[in-house]
Amino acid sequence: MIAFPWITLLTTVPIVGALVLLVLGGRNKNLARWSALAFSFVALVLTLILWRHFDPASGSLQFQERHAWISTLGVEYHVGIDGLGLLMLLLSSIVVPIGMVASWQIKERVPLYYSLILILQACLFGTFTALNFFHWFIFWELSLIPAFFLIRLWGGPRRTSASTQFLVYTMVGSITLLLAFIAIFLATKKFDFIDLAALAQNGQLMPAVIGKLAWHRFTPEHVALFLFAGAFLGFAVKVPIFPFHTWLPSAYCEAPTGTTILLTGAMSKMGVYGFLRILLPIFGAQMQVVLTPLLWMAVATIVLSAYAALAQKDLKRIFAYSSINHLGYCLLGIFAAVKFTGGDTALIAEKYAAMNGVFLQMFNHALTASTLFWFVAMLEKRSGGLRGLDDFGGLRKVAPVFTGLMGIALFSTLGLPGLNGFIGEFLIFKGSFPLATWATSLSVLGLLATAIFILGILQRVFSGPLNERWAGLPDLTAGERLALAPAILLMFVLGLYPQIVLGAINNTVMQAVQHLQF
């Protein structure tokens, strides 16, 4: 099995799909939709095969492929997945078909739309499997292009500024990231994440940088922090972390809802993934130095975004802020796990808990947020694009199944036990509390605000007397129910038996945490 280039195959499938769609697209919209969906299903099946053959007991990199590429620049084609990569592949493969189905109502340039989604999927796969900075960065940057055009061409009324801000803002972050890595490369002649992590582990990385670059009067600590800041900005914008988040609400809001699903479900995970794959192993020591401000940024991300969501009137904006809030919990868990604890084994166990929670939360958020935006798409389809909090009222009367199923997704966002959202949050809180007590205690305010706006949605959209305008609003069709069923079922399964995910990632988490013990 090892010899077979599964990962390359996986990345190639959506690219082939995109090309096929572009070449044969023509006018048949349904053909384009179904064939795009078929390609994404092939990708899903391939991911499931990877999952099936993944050895959770080892937790280290598997399915590796390593080929020389541009040896003078230290560039290799090096891919592989561990528990983290596998999880990311799984969530991308789940989110993309959801995004495709939720985009069914798109009428213009359908083949182009779907081929852009497939290209985006290929970029996601590439980003989540690459182990060499060079082609990782290519995929990372390339993913912006389809996302930009998806917003720019099919977006809402203010799509121009939203897409431009999205592109430029993310690009600025990427440039600082690139500069940091070029500096590191000039010093070490290495682009490979694994090699760089090993150097950082030995404490050789930053002395090497300062030795080669010889910036006078700067200590290695300063240079290291400077490089860290560059890399951090790239990921901070992508996640996003307060206060680098302002591109997100307008981008999510203006994007066609199917694209929003991709943005929130998969692309926002690229940032968190970057933290876990790149920042933690390579810049762990620097994160410890600035841990306190980082923790407060996480708390601000959690609390302020939840409260900002409370003030919104547009369902998509609410869920956009909610999305920031949920990723804030991931950051809290990551930062808490970075804290220097010496050899205290009890606290290392807390780090395991927090990091397992982070991984699980990423997956859960992908599932729940995608499903919620999917419901918004279905609502928009029925209301002719309206999605304001006060545009509806009493919908439960005409659309009880819609209300019930969306209610399940909403309560999953709220973190109700028994549904998927709870376990991740519980583990993050459980692990972070002893490591960062006050930050964690303040973060529960985010949970409270989330509860308030989720119930506000249920109250204002679905309860109360029926708004007569929507008396004829159709409930979910049989097809929609069937399409939603796997997502809803997965929420229950993960809520009741999270071991299926945790079992696959636990050893990766343990290795990641052990690498943090400097």
């Binding site: 801000q165 430029v168 803002y169 206060p243 988040h245 302002t246 591109w247 609400p249 302020l304 975004s305 409260y307 900002a308 409370l310 003030a311 009890a346 290392i348 166990a349 807390e350 780090k351 395991y352 808990a353 397992n356 009493g394 439960r396 009367k397 019930g404 309560f411 109700l416 036990p417 028994g418 709870f422 376990i423 519980f426 809180f429 459980k430 509390f433 002893p434 964690t440 529960v444 949970l447 409270l448 605000a449 509860a451 308030i452 119930l455 506000g456 249920l458 109250q459 679905f462 309860s463 109360g464 007397p465 029926l466 999270p498 071991q499 945790l502 079992g503 636990n506 343990m510 945490v513």
Partner: protein, 696 residues
């Protein structure tokens, strides 16, 4: 392993399973839904009975039987869940399944006209399952999960008539207020987890309620000089206070009466609101933990006592001035929950739990009675518009009277014995006598406001306005032909549960009298002895006589105000209102706590949301926009400089060259004719020149 312990999970699982199927049923499968819910709960009841009998047979032996299992792993550890069987669990299981079953049966009649009958039983079954889960949980985590699901079902059922804006608002309020307590609970739980490394209550010596963990907790001090055990216990108590409507977090419970009355009876009187009390009883070793031996009780228990005592009087005062039949009962419930908390604080698990169990019976009886009254009066809930129902609804009246007397603590009825236990323990409390006096005052108020209510509802003559007799029972009802025009007795499916509950409300107290404290011994694992001599123990008879006396005073005052001069019409001013209009208004508005919260916390919350939004739009986004505008300005300046300064000089030069080029380019038009012409002309000129020159 004993069969019943191993399979105890079936008790909550069956109703949850029934709810799962019920969720998939169609709206018209009414009988199937009710049968599923009632059937599953009956089986749960039988299993609970087995469990109870097992504990009874095992009495004096091993107190706690557990079954733990692994749920998921992180690092090298597994998160374990489990369930347990001890006397406390057995009692609660029996109470919840039995009262639940009666209320389910009653609901078949009460909800008969409702369109969403199927959904109602689905939610009720889910509630029963989650509540039973709380009861059997042997792990904080499992308890918390079930606790939250209980909160969810409470939310769903309060907002059951979702098209009423008030119901939707009340549901939201209930969820959020209890959520505030639950967040503290969550923090307490993760704190405990960090300190003890386990969330199992009992785990063969390694559980967090067992000796080694507690010894570890009391040895550590944290902020404000509290021990870790106190800090954790207080945080968890916040959760209990939220669920059990203790003062400051009680505001949701009166509003929760927007739900259908069986919901109020089951969830907001008998079981869910008592879950907070149960939680304190469950974690009593943690609540009472302190280092060494001390004469003063643990700080956490003192907080519990004071909270309970204040709540008991606070809510009873408000109940005096209410006019909605269900709101009176709701405030009464809050007040009684205060007694239970106080009982736990001053007297221990048995005292608090005894009142919990008796209260569950007589309060659900009262709520079901109120439901029967509301049903009979076509949805009227204002006691000023009732009256004279004694003759029209005789069974309901008899049952209601029993429940009311039991609640008041009328001698020999169940409430008398259990409330007396609480008061006696408060009397013997070493720290302060104030809770005892508060409790006694509360008992007086209880007797008074219940008498007032009963005279309003059943005494005098009917004041039901003609117009409301034609009203539909609920706006959800479709079948108006079933609703008769005048007050009427409810069908047997509703009255039979009333009668059964009434019997229990009368007799249940005899299992825990001072002479034969079976209940207390059952919980403590001791042997019960029968002895009348116990009545002559310290403080037993004086307290008993005091509380009986006050009950009679309360009943007498009620008679004085409301029976001597029966209420004439619905618009009459209340006697107390005439006496003390200011205080009455103040109490009638529930001491303006809601208004206070609305003016402070709610507004603060909304304001803070606005601030966050504003920061987002103007500060964070503003900074980004400013940077982008600066970039644009720089770009424009650059362009201007290029175009006007650098380029213009360059352009001038270029222009010159270009013009020259243009002229020159005329010479190279690319047209062969013109070349030929020029060549021809030149040739001619040359020839001419040569000819001319030759001549010269």
């Amino acid at each position: 392993m004993i069969w019943i312990v191993q399979n105890l999970w079936l008790v909550p699982a069956l109703p949850v399973f029934a709810a799962g199927i019920g969720a998939l049923l169609r709206q018209r499968d009414r009988m199937a839904a009710a049968t599923l819910a009632i059937g599953s709960l009956s089986v749960s009841f039988l299993l609970s009975l087995c469990a109870f009998l097992h504990v009874l047979a095992n009495h004096g032996g091993q107190q706690v039987l557990t079954f733990n299992f692994r749920w998921f792993q992180f690092g090298n550890e597994w998160v374990k869940l489990g369930w347990m069987l001890d006397p406390l669990t057995a009692l609660m299981l029996l109470m919840v399944t039995f009262v639940g079953l009666l209320i389910f049966i009653y609901s078949v009649g009460y909800m008969a006209h409702d369109d969403n009958f199927t959904r109602f039983f689905c939610f009720m079954a889910l509630f029963a399952g989650a509540m039973l889960g709380v009861v059997i949980a042997n792990s904080f985590l499992l308890l918390f999960m079930c606790w939250e699901i209980v909160g969810l079902t409470s939310y769903l059922l309060i907002g059951f008539w979702y098209n009423r804006p008030k119901a939707a608002a009340a549901a939201k309020k209930a969820f959020i207020v209890t959520k505030i307590g639950d967040l503290a609970f969550l923090l307490g739980m993760v704190w405990l987890y960090a300190k003890t490394g386990t969330l199992l209550f009992y785990d063969g010596g390694a559980g967090c309620l067992e000796h080694s963990a507690l010894a570890h907790l009391v040895a550590q001090s944290t902020v404000l000089g509290l021990t870790a055990s106190t800090g954790i216990a207080l945080l968890i108590f916040c959760g209990a206070a939220g669920k059990s409507g203790q003062v400051s977090l009680h505001v949701w419970l009166p509003d929760a009466m927007e739900g259908p009355t069986p919901v109020s009876a089951l969830i907001h009187a008998a079981t869910m609101v008592a879950a907070g009390v149960f939680l304190v009883a469950r974690i009593y070793p943690l609540m009472s933990a302190q280092a060494g031996f001390s004469l003063t009780p643990a700080i956490a228990l003192q907080v519990v006592t004071w909270t309970g005592a204040i709540t008991a009087v606070f809510a009873a005062l408000i109940a005096v001035a209410q006019f909605d039949i269900k709101r009176i009962l709701a405030y009464s419930t809050i007040s009684q929950l205060g007694y239970m908390m106080m009982g736990l604080g001053v007297g221990g698990v048995a005292v608090g739990m005894f009142h919990l169990i008796t209260h569950a019976f007589f309060k659900s009886l009262l709520f079901l009675g109120a439901g029967s009254i509301i049903h009979g009066c076509n949805g009227e809930q204002d006691i000023r518009r009732m009256g004279g129902l004694r003759g029209l609804m005789p069974i309901t009246f008899a049952a209601y009277a029993v429940g009311m007397l039991a609640l008041c603590g009328f001698p020999l009825l169940s409430g008398f014995w259990s409330k007396d236990e609480v008061l006696r323990a408060a009397h013997a409390w070493s720290t302060s006598q104030a809770p005892f006096y508060l409790g006694v005052f509360g008992a007086l108020l209880t007797a008074f406001y219940m008498t007032r209510q009963v005279y309003y509802v059943f005494g005098g003559s009917s004041r039901l306005p003609e117009s409301s007799r034609d009203l539909l029972q609920t706006s959800n009802s479709t079948n108006s032909s079933h609703v008769p025009a005048s007050p009427h007795e409810s069908p047997a499916v509703m009255t039979v549960p009333l009668v059964i509950l009434a019997a229990f409300a009368m007799l249940l107290g005899f299992i825990g009298t001072p002479a034969w404290p079976w209940f207390q011994s059952f919980l403590d694992g001791k042997q019960t002895t029968f002895s009348f001599a116990a009545f002559y123990g310290f403080g037993v008879l004086p307290v008993m006589l005091t509380s009986s006396l006050l009950v009679f005073v309360g009943l007498g005052l009620g008679w004085w105000f409301y029976e001597r001069k029966p209420v004439g019409s619905a618009n009459d001013v209340d006697e107390l209102d005439k006496l003390q209009p200011l205080i009455f208004t103040f109490l009638g508005h529930a001491l303006y706590v809601d208004a206070l919260y609305g003016a402070t916390l709610v507004r603060l919350n909304a304001w803070w949301a606005k601030v966050c939004d504003w920061l987002d739009r103007w500060v964070w986004n503003g900074a980004v926009q400013t940077v982008s505008y600066l970039v644009l300005v720089v770009a424009w300046l650059n362009n201007f400089f290029d175009a006007s300064v650098v380029n213009s000089g360059f352009d001038e030069g270029c222009e010159g060259v270009s013009r020259g080029g243009q002229i020159l380019s005329l010479l190279q038009g690319g047209q062969v004719q013109s070349y030929m012409a020029v060549i021809g002309c030149a040739l001619i000129a040359l020839v001419m020149f040569l000819l001319w020159g030759a001549k010269l």
